[in-house]
Structure formats: structure tokens, C-alpha cells
Symmetry: C2
Subunit: 458 residues, 2 copies
């Protein structure tokens, strides 16, 4: 008789082939020209859930991209119900010219599959579909009750899932949530994320003259929005990484001595991490370690600027407008809306009267922290240890997964963040990849997690 | 018997039609895809000189775009020789979507011809070809000896004319130079520019990590080139317009009390000038008047920035690189090379060790001042007064015409800057235009200037 683990091992080739098909669909949720692709990815994932043996598979229409729901609820009332979340949309793939192979032609090289979305998050989301399928194929049943909720707007703000959760509390009712959308410390060191940063994303447009002016005829007499933007950016964060917006740090929960000690303990490969970025040196607030700065400290980054003449050669223009995208990563207990308000008030204060500044956006999510003594966290730790042969460490992660905060707020759920990515997966960048051994071990870890969780009675 | 002025007046329609043909050629010298267009514009202009009756018309090959030379040297040794300069290349027309009619489909509306290059400088350069043609058609001769030198790289640095001048001193030998590439104060107030600002143009590329990073995973641990650029820009010029580069003002020649008094005298329409820019208010160094700041004070403007994600929606990228174009407008006696060196040294000093900064370019020209008591300036003043019915005023202009400094340095020539543009011609911007009455009056002024100059014996 085959076991779920045997089933997973025997079907690795097939699972990889399926993943590659999933990765071929350019489901870029922020770019309207990809709307049909996002819909196609949703349907593909729903079909795979149907094939896995899940019940009630539904592609749920929203005002934006669809949600996918599915469940299997026959494990009994005395075992927990786990709500599994993932997202099938991906980041834009630009700049295309920096990809070694095209972003939507998945290619295996050196045990990695290269494609946009391979690690973030299609590969990781698909792991749990395959784990559930392994249990059902081998045993005809699951050790726990399972619900899936998958979204297609994680990379574009997640507004429709955010609206769906409070309106569908009964449907989504569970005992714990499971999300795989993070990275392990390294190939050999599994880790479980217990803290995520939050985010507040903003768009800032600065306009001076209503048309581009000749910088010879007007320079020195009309203020220049590009120069103004420089002054504004310099006033947002100092050169040591301290954000200068009044009130920004008011609600930041200080790290306890115990947590700082724990974070200091695990063996973070700072040199390897730096080498992988190619930057000349690490950087940031001098009073915090790199691990603390990356996971437990808020920050502010400009993500894009375009303004003036950017074609070949020179043009002596004093431009009308400059566009700037930026976000602030938040930590407990900063409130994204309060931070957006503080940002806008500060810009009002520092922007000179020679320009008008328009600020839009402000979508965000609070930071989250999960108690790591709950049974599901212990089940995850055991599953990792058995699969990887090494006990996982608990860590904070610098990224943001807004749904974790929403599960907490509306469903009262703690979330287990069972990541199988790696720090050098190049998510959100050219040449994104997913380490294939982690794809296969991820399925095994998920299989064991469901078993472990099933033996921890409610 | 027809006179040159009669000839010009009788042929206005024909001259406008010819100008429109000239303006149809997209001779953008900085964009290699327009190389053939630049060559076509050169040939068109050379043909028009041939038709005007000039001798020795030559399209001269260079390492870049061609020069055009022509002359008429039969006026005798006792009258001056005037060297007439203009340029047939144009600025890039981007952003195309802001043009009311396409930039290379010349369109007449409300007595203006709208097209890229209409005012800067095809329309103004063509004026003198037509003035010479009027003299030759009416009288069979010119009152002075004339040489033309036209270039196709004014908007892209002018390197090949710069190299040509010192190697062809005999060919270009003259008594005075004449350039129409500036603006009058207003439709009703002709003006002669006696001072031009110089320029130093630079490209700055700032690189941090060697690839785009996820701002969640890396933000707070790796410095961000876009944030760094903000700090650098803020340190280049303060918010009142004072450039902060050490040594920048060392060689600036102070304005004399007499010159400040003269500049204060003419009736500059500050409110109309501001309204035309659409900016909320004028701006600049508080210790100088607007007229002084625009013509007689150096400044620094960022012309273009592109970096990070600039597509639709948001992307949380910590970008690898940002590109920035900027220039400094210079006044007597600042030296462009010395200024470029000071800029580079300062960036070395202020750029943090978290990034690498590459600075290229540095092409430039010194500022120039022409003595306004020389006979050619008086001839120009008389020609303007007779054509426009108003005495011209003498003014400084904020733009840069590098060739004026080169004529001074290599040929020992003073230059008369006989401008027929207007301040709201939108040169270097969408919807560039040229005021048609100034095109026709320009031809008349040039005809009278040649007569006046001919009567001022050498």
C-alpha cells in the first residue's frame, strides 16, 4: 500500500511538469493587459484542486481578479480545520531584458526552476494542493479538515480578498491558517517566520510649471520638480536609515531583550547574503543588527522615479512633473492608515510653495506576530525537522503578507508561515527562481504537517 | 525696380511654404534613428542657399552630422565680412502626446507656425538665407561680404563644429558674427542679447545592488540608489537656488552697479512670464532680481531621472540603478571644465560608500558677453528700430550658444545675437512655435542690418 509520502516521491516529475504549466501563465495582476491571463491562472489552479480531490471548488468573481475556494471537511469535528492561503498572481516581470530566459517560459537550470512567480507564490501555493492530493490518493482521506482560499491580487493590494473575509466568516471559519509565501534562512536551515512587516504604499506626483520649460530661459527663475523631489526624499529618511516623518516611530513596539537574544543566536550568513545582492556593503540603522533591521525595524524605500527627459543623449529641460512610487515597511504596532496620514501631513509641511504635490495610494497592511507555542507551530516544526533533518529556527521576515493580519482581525486565526523559498530566489526581480528540492520537500513537509496537526486534537 | 524689402514682402507666402517644408524634416540630432533625417535637412538647407544665389555651397562631412558652408564675397575689401551661423538640428520632440498637432507636421494657427525647430532654430536660421536672397534678387549684389556656417549638432553638443573652427580659421575669417537663436523680450519690444550663459552637462548613474531586490526582504539592510539620489540632489543646490558645490562661485564675475541698473530699467513682464509657465510662483536666489537670475546668475537643474519600477501600479522593488541627467548654467568667468571637475570631486565626497556613482558627459561652453558699442551692434539696433518702430533694448539671455564662445576664442569675433523668437515659443518643449510676423520682420531686419553694416566702412 502506498503512503502519501511515497505518492509524492513517485510523482515528482509529474508535479514539476504541472508547476511549469502554471508558471507559463503571465498572471500579472497590476497590468490590465494581463487580466485574461490572471483569469486563466485562476481557472488552472481551480482545475488542479478539482483533480486533487477537493470538494466545493469555486472560482469566485470579485470586482477585480477572482478568488478560489475549495475544501475537504470529512476528517471529523475532533480534529482541527486548517485554512490554507496562497496567491496565483505575480509581480510585473520588467525589465525583461535582464532575464536570462523569458519570465514566462519556465526553465530548469542547476536544480532551480526559473520563472516569474516560481517562488512568489505559485510554486509555494501549489505545494499544498499536491500534499492534499497525496493524502487523498494514498488514503482516501485527510488527517484534518482543510479549506483553501487563493487570491489573484496579492501583488496589487488584495482589496477584494480583504473585503471578502469579513463577509464570509462562516465559509472561512477554521482553527489555524497556513501560508507558504516566505523564505527559509538557507538550503540547509529550515525556518518558520513568526513576524512579518506591514506596509504602506504611496504614489507622489510633483508638478511645477504646467509644461516643460527650457532650462536656459527659465533656469534660476522657476523651481524644478526634480530638484524638489530630491529635497523631499532627503527629508523622508536620513542617510543612516532613520525615517524623519514626525510620529513615525511613536507606535513601534520595542524588541525585548529576550527576542533580540534569540535573533542574535541563529547563524545568519551576512557575507553570503551581501554577496548575493552585489551591493558594496550592508547598511542601515547603526543601533540594530542586520537581522533586526531586516525583520523588526520599519523603513522607507523609493521604488521608482520617472520625470523629465529620459531618452538618449541630453535635453536641457526644466520638467513639468515627476512621478515617484514609495513604500514604508511597518512593524508592530504601527497602523498603516495613521502612517499614511503622517506622511501626507509631513509632505504638506515640507513641500515648497513652488510646486503642487499629489499623493495617492496608501494601501497597506499592519505587521503581524504569531505566538510560536501554539500546536500548529509545533506541528510545523516537527514536519520541517523530519523532512530536512534539521530543527527549524524561528525568525522575523521583512516582507508583508497583508492577509495574515486580516485572518487575525476577522477570523481570529493565528497563521503558520511555512516558507520554502530561499533568500536568493530573486522574487520581484529578474530571474526569479524556486529551488526544486524545496518544492519536493515542501510537499513532504506539508504532508507531515497535516499528519502532525491531525494528531494534535482540538 | 524692386528693392530687397519689396522682394521679401512680395514673397512672404512662398517663404512660409519653404519654411514648412524645412520643418517637416525630423532632424533630431541626439537620436540615432533620425540620422538620415538630419542629413536630409542639411541637404535641403544647402539647396536653399544655392537657390538664394550664394557661392561655394558645400555640405561638409564630419564624424557626426554635416556642416554647411556657403559664401558671397564680391562686396569689396572695404566693407566688412559677416559670418552667419545657425543650426538645422532640433531637440527631441518627446513627449509626443502633449503636442496639439504633430511636431513634424507644421501647422499655422493664430499667426504662429507650430513645429519642433520652428523657433529653435530652423525658422531663425532660414531668415538670413532669405535676406541674402532678397538682396541678390533685387540688386544682384550684397552690401557686405557674407559667409554662412550652419551646423546639425547644436542640440547634441556641437563637437564637430567645435573641432572644425580652429582647423578652418581662414575659411571662416570675418569681421563679425551674426547669430539668430534667441528671443526678443516681447512682440512689441525688440531686444539684442549681449550676454549668454554657458553650460556644463553631465550624466550621473548611481548603482547599489547589482540587481533589483525585494524591498521587504532587503529594505533596511541595503541602501537604495533612489533614496541616495535624493540626498545627493539636495546637497547640490539648496532650496533657495544656491549651488552648494565647493568653488562653484569662485570665478563668477559680479554684476556691476551700472549693469544692474540697466537690467532693472527695462519693462520685464514678470506676471505674464510667470503665467506662461503655469508654475505657482517665481523662485530663486533672494538677493537677485528675476531678470538677473535668468540671465546673469549660474544655476543647476536636473533634467531627467529614471530608475526602479515606473510601470502601472505598484512594485516593491529596491532598485539596482538610477540614471540622472543634469546641467549647470554658467556665467562669466566660470570655466565649464573646471566646474565639471568640481562637480565630480564633490560627488566623490558626498556619495556614500553603499553605492557607486558614474559621471559622464561634461560637454559645455563658457558664458559670453559682447561689447554693445561695436558698429555691428549699432547696425543691428538701427535695423530693429526701423523694422519694429521701437528701439531695441540690450539684455542678457539665460540660454547657451556655445559657438559664440568658440568664434571669440578661435576667430577673435564678436557676435551680434539678433533674436526673433519670443519667450513663449516653447522651445525644447511640446508645441514649439514661431510667431509669423517675426519671421517676416526678421527677414526685413536682416536685410536692413546688411545695408547698415555695409555703410559702416571697416
Amino acid at each position: 500500500m502506498t503512503t502519501p509520502l511515497n505518492y509524492a516521491q513517485e510523482n515528482q516529475e509529474k508535479h514539476l511538469k504541472q508547476l511549469k504549466t502554471f508558471l507559463q501563465i503571465p498572471s500579472v495582476s497590476t497590468q490590465p493587459e494581463h487580466d485574461a491571463d490572471v483569469a486563466a491562472a485562476a481557472q488552472w489552479l481551480a482545475d488542479s484542486m478539482q483533480e486533487a480531490g477537493l470538494d466545493n471548488v469555486q472560482v469566485i468573481k470579485t470586482d477585480g481578479h477572482p478568488l478560489i475556494y475549495a475544501d475537504w471537511l470529512h476528517a471529523g469535528a475532533d480534529v482541527p480545520t486548517v485554512l490554507i492561503y496562497g496567491h496565483y498572481d505575480v509581480q510585473p516581470a520588467e525589465p525583461f531584458e535582464l532575464w536570462q530566459t523569458p519570465p514566462f517560459e519556465p526553465t530548469v537550470r542547476d536544480n532551480y526552476v526559473y520563472a516569474r512567480g516560481s517562488s512568489d507564490d505559485k510554486g509555494q501555493a501549489f505545494i499544498h494542493v499536491k500534499a492534499v492530493q497525496a493524502h487523498l490518493a494514498a488514503n482516501g482521506r485527510l488527517p484534518v479538515n482543510v479549506k483553501f482560499i487563493m487570491e489573484g491580487e496579492e501583488e496589487s493590494g488584495g482589496a477584494n480578498l480583504h473585503a471578502f473575509i469579513p463577509e464570509n466568516k462562516e465559509l472561512l471559519q477554521a482553527d489555524v491558517a497556513l501560508v507558504s509565501d516566505t523564505a527559509m534562512i538557507s538550503k540547509d536551515q529550515p525556518s518558520i517566520v513568526y513576524g512579518l512587516r506591514g506596509m504602506c504604499y504611496l504614489y507622489m506626483d510633483i508638478t511645477g510649471p504646467t509644461r516643460d520649460l527650457h532650462s536656459g530661459s527659465f533656469g534660476g527663475g522657476i523651481d524644478n520638480p526634480l530638484n524638489v523631489l530630491g529635497h523631499i526624499i532627503a527629508k523622508l529618511k536620513d542617510e543612516n536609515g532613520r525615517v524623519l516623518i514626525p510620529g513615525f516611530y511613536d507606535d513601534v513596539r520595542d524588541l525585548s531583550a529576550a527576542e533580540r537574544a534569540m535573533l542574535a543566536e541563529y547563524n545568519f550568513d551576512e557575507a553570503g547574503w551581501l554577496a548575493e545582492t552585489g551591493a558594496p556593503q550592508a547598511w542601515g540603522e547603526p543601533d540594530y543588527t542586520l537581522v533586526e533591521r531586516l525583520g523588526a525595524r520599519p523603513t522607507l524605500d523609493v521604488h521608482g522615479i520617472i520625470g523629465g527627459y529620459t531618452g538618449p543623449g541630453g535635453k536641457t529641460v526644466l520638467p513639468s512633473t515627476v512621478h515617484c512610487k514609495l513604500s514604508m515597511r511597518l512593524v508592530p504596532d504601527q497602523d498603516p492608515q495613521k502612517i499614511a496620514k503622517a506622511f501626507k501631513a509631513y509632505i504638506q509641511q515640507i513641500a515648497p510653495p513652488t510646486v503642487t504635490v499629489e499623493i495617492t495610494g496608501g494601501h497597506g497592511a499592519p505587521a503581524t506576530i504569531t505566538d510560536f507555542d501554539i500546536p500548529a507551530m509545533k506541528a510545523a516544526a516537527t514536519a520541517y525537522a523530519e523532512t530536512f533533518g534539521t530543527e527549524p529556527v524561528f525568525m522575523r521576515e521583512g516582507g508583508s503578507i497583508p492577509v495574515v493580519g486580516q485572518f487575525q482581525e476577522h477570523l481570529g486565526l493565528e497563521t503558520v508561515l511555512m516558507g520554502f523559498g530561499l533568500p536568493d530566489d530573486k522574487i520581484h526581480a529578474p530571474n526569479e527562481r524556486f529551488y526544486l528540492p524545496n518544492f519536493f520537500k515542501g510537499i513532504e513537509t506539508s504532508i507531515r504537517f497535516l499528519d502532525e496537526l491531525g494528531s494534535s486534537k482540538k
